[in-house]
Symmetry: C2
Subunit: 160 residues, 2 copies
DNA sequence: GCCGGTTATGTTATCTCATAACAGAAGGTG
DNA sequence: CACCTTCTGTTATGAGATAACATAACCGGC
């Protein structure tokens, strides 16, 4: 996937089998606890994200949606992504126009990403926004969300 | 421009007359110093950005490009934007698909934005990325660029 | 001046990404 | 069941960005 080298994609293996089922089950439970519904299309899109090892484009998800190769209609997937983002099950990476499943346990949170320009990996980390929030407060801003995307090379690609 | 209230756009007035000419002249000088060429379409796009008081979409620039209402062709403007970004004269705001002129003097630098969801203002500030760079280093990443976009409400819109 | 490499532009067409609008189905409540 | 709300299916279109290739301007050496 990288423009400059040929390392395998990503740092997350992508979930399969029981690990995948467990993750989907946990999502069901979190939805049930807040009166939200993890309906079939939402569950399917989350499954596709969890199975993947790298950020997925919306139209990749659209193409992979159907069980026997039939694509979904765009609004089906975009609506599911909107839901998954709202509940904190997925994040959009603006600089890639792509989506990843949340890899950090717990409730919805501020996300930040380390993105490898070589292999395409996108690693989520828990950001410390103290400095930036302080700058925002000084300017009189009430901050509701922050997106931070750092581009560069992952450890494997730096070594290679 | 805001979805929720009707404050005037932005915090930057947009340059006119001699202030605009001065800014464009300074850009010429910075280009000359590095063997880069501020050609007519590049200069025109920078002018449009400097005149504006809020982030401009690419197709807004395309529409406004010609002196007598004739639009530019998309590649003309996208190439100019690529140049302006490369030299640090402009920044792309990923979460808006829009562009702003750099409001911070000096050479190209890491940018960060406070974006008001109410009035559409996008205020550039000088970010302190110490915490995030330290987290990236711990994960073994070599970071080349960082984009940070904080969404919320500006001082005027918080008050109103 | 003019040749030849390099960089930039003009032009056409196409591609990717995302949403509006509306009809219908499913779920939940009394 | 009657009603309201939320979600889904479907069609069509809007918004954002780039590929590909031909032409033109710039700049060095000759
Ligand atoms: Zn997350
Ligand atoms: Zn990598
Ligand atoms: Zn700047
Ligand atoms: Zn505002």
């Amino acid at each position: 996937m990288g423009a400059e080298c040929h390392h395998p994609d990503g740092v997350h293996p992508g979930l399969k089998g029981s690990a995948l089922n467990h993750a989907l089950g946990a999502a069901e439970q979190r939805c049930a606890a807040t009166q939200e519904r993890l309906t079939a299309p939402r569950r399917r899109v989350l499954e596709l994200l969890l199975e993947s090892n790298s950020p997925q484009k919306a139209y990749d998800l659209i193409a992979a949606f159907g069980a026997h190769g039939e694509p979904a209609k765009p609004p089906t997937v975009y609506r599911a992504l909107e839901f998954l983002e709202r509940l904190g099950f997925a994040h959009r990476i603006e600089s890639l126009n792509a989506y990843v499943p949340c890899r950090i346990d717990g409730q919805s949170h501020r996300a930040a990403f380390l993105i490898c320009d070589c292999c395409g990996a996108a690693e989520e980390f828990e950001p410390d926004f103290t400095a930036q929030l302080s700058a925002a407060a000084k300017a009189g801003y009430q901050v509701s969300t922050i997106t931070l995307e750092a581009r560069g090379r992952c450890a494997a690609c730096s070594a290679g």
